[in-house]
């Protein structure tokens, strides 16, 4: 059982590593430079997958939260919490790489466009999620409150996006892809998305494992107190 576990983990890490190398090769060697915006466009191949992963992460938190409130099994809470944590790390990256990309292309660090603003609001919601978990008076309460925020926060995403989109209609996609996505560009993007998704899965397994260890420590402490 344990050996199987390690094997699966090993395969996943191997796969993730290979995909990452392939992704880097494609981004820096294989794919041709985009004509209009130049070399800086290569941020796209990492920025978009990172954004995709953060969205995926919050979706997993949403599902995990529902399952936890329904089944009351610690494992669902561990998955939901781990995924939110990874999601916050990746959203932070979106919020940092976005401006680094925007500055040379648009000449400004930040624009209140729908995607950036939605990411910022998401980041705030899930930072609050992690805060509530750490400030709850006991772990079981933290898990329950987290689940409620994981659900209530996620259904906000489409509404925030829609609202902000109507509020400031500036679509960076039209500026960046005047020529559209060519086949090599699309291939590169796909490989990068695959690489980051595998990385996400690895990180969540790792982080959820720590949650299980924390629960184990609580159980052992109780046993010791007997």
């Amino acid at each position: 059982m344990n050996g199987n576990h390690a094997l699966r983990n090993g395969i996943l890490w191997g796969l993730g590593f290979a995909l990452m190398i392939a992704a880097l090769y494609m981004v820096f060697v294989y794919v041709p430079t985009e004509k209009h915006t130049g070399i800086i466009q290569r941020i796209f191949y990492f920025h978009v997958p990172v954004a995709w992963v953060s969205f995926l992460a919050f979706f997993v938190t949403f599902i995990g939260s529902i399952l936890y409130l329904w089944k009351r099994q610690e494992k669902w809470d561990a998955v939901a919490c781990a995924s939110a944590e990874v999601g916050v790390v990746f959203t932070t990256l979106v919020l940092i790489t976005g401006p680094i990309w925007a500055k040379p292309v648009w000449g400004i660090w930040w624009t209140w466009d729908a995607r950036l603003t939605t990411s910022l609001v998401l980041w705030l919601i899930y930072v609050a999620y992690l805060l509530v978990r750490s400030l709850a008076t006991e772990p079981e309460k933290g898990a329950r409150y987290g689940a409620v925020i994981g659900i209530v926060g996620f259904i906000d995403v489409p509404v925030v996006f829609l609202t902000v989109n109507l509020w400031r209609t500036q679509h960076p996609t039209t500026i960046i892809f005047e020529g559209g996505l060519t086949t090599p560009m699309l291939m590169t993007l796909m490989v990068c998305i695959a690489a980051f998704t595998v990385l996400y899965v690895l990180l969540v397994i790792r982080s959820a494992g720590l949650k299980t260890m924390e629960a184990e420590i609580r159980r052992l402490r109780i046993m010791k107190a007997e």
Binding site: V121, L124, A128, T137, Y145, V152, I155, V159, L166
Partner: protein, 224 residues
Amino acid sequence: MNKAFTKIFVIFWKDMLMEFRTREIIISVLVFALLVLVIFSFAFGTGIDVTEMTAPGILWVALTFGGVIGLSRTFAVEKENSRLEGLMLCPVDRAVIYWGKLAGSFTFMLAVAVVVTPIFLALFNLPIFLPRLALVIVLALTGFAAVGTLFSALAVNTRARDIMLPILFLPVVVPVIVSAVKATAPVLAGAPWGDMLTWLQIMIAFDIIYLVAATLVFEFVVEE
């Protein structure tokens, strides 16, 4: 079903009665909201061109921050003397407790808005009688109360209860704030209904989504 409505009203009326006695929520929120108005008018100036740009934002910042202050009292009151346990012992669905407290929070915020808005309009030399603005206020405050009542119950059970509510509440109600500001601008400018329709629709959608979602998850916040 009928009984549930009666119980919702009983909880609501209890909150009204307490507020009649002390007026602590309405007075403190009102003073706070007015202070925000005054501070912002200093920060932005009040020339006619400036007013057009900033007035809707100033009104909604005042009502939003005032709202948070009021919402934080919603369940703090029930936490004192363990009254929430008394409520939880009652033979009612947890959703009934949510709706009863929601009705109270909404009414308090509405009462504050009814006083603050005319003062705001007068201070900025805008027309006072604006029935369409009333609609915007009702829709926005419904959204605030729907989210705020849920998070108020959650925040009182955490360690940093005073700061937790705004941290949770404000990012989630971003769509309401944006829509309320955007819908207020055409009203103040005397523009036709068409300009605010989309924003009203977003607020209606938000209100329905959060009233339903919060009704469903409220029990997980108050159970022990």
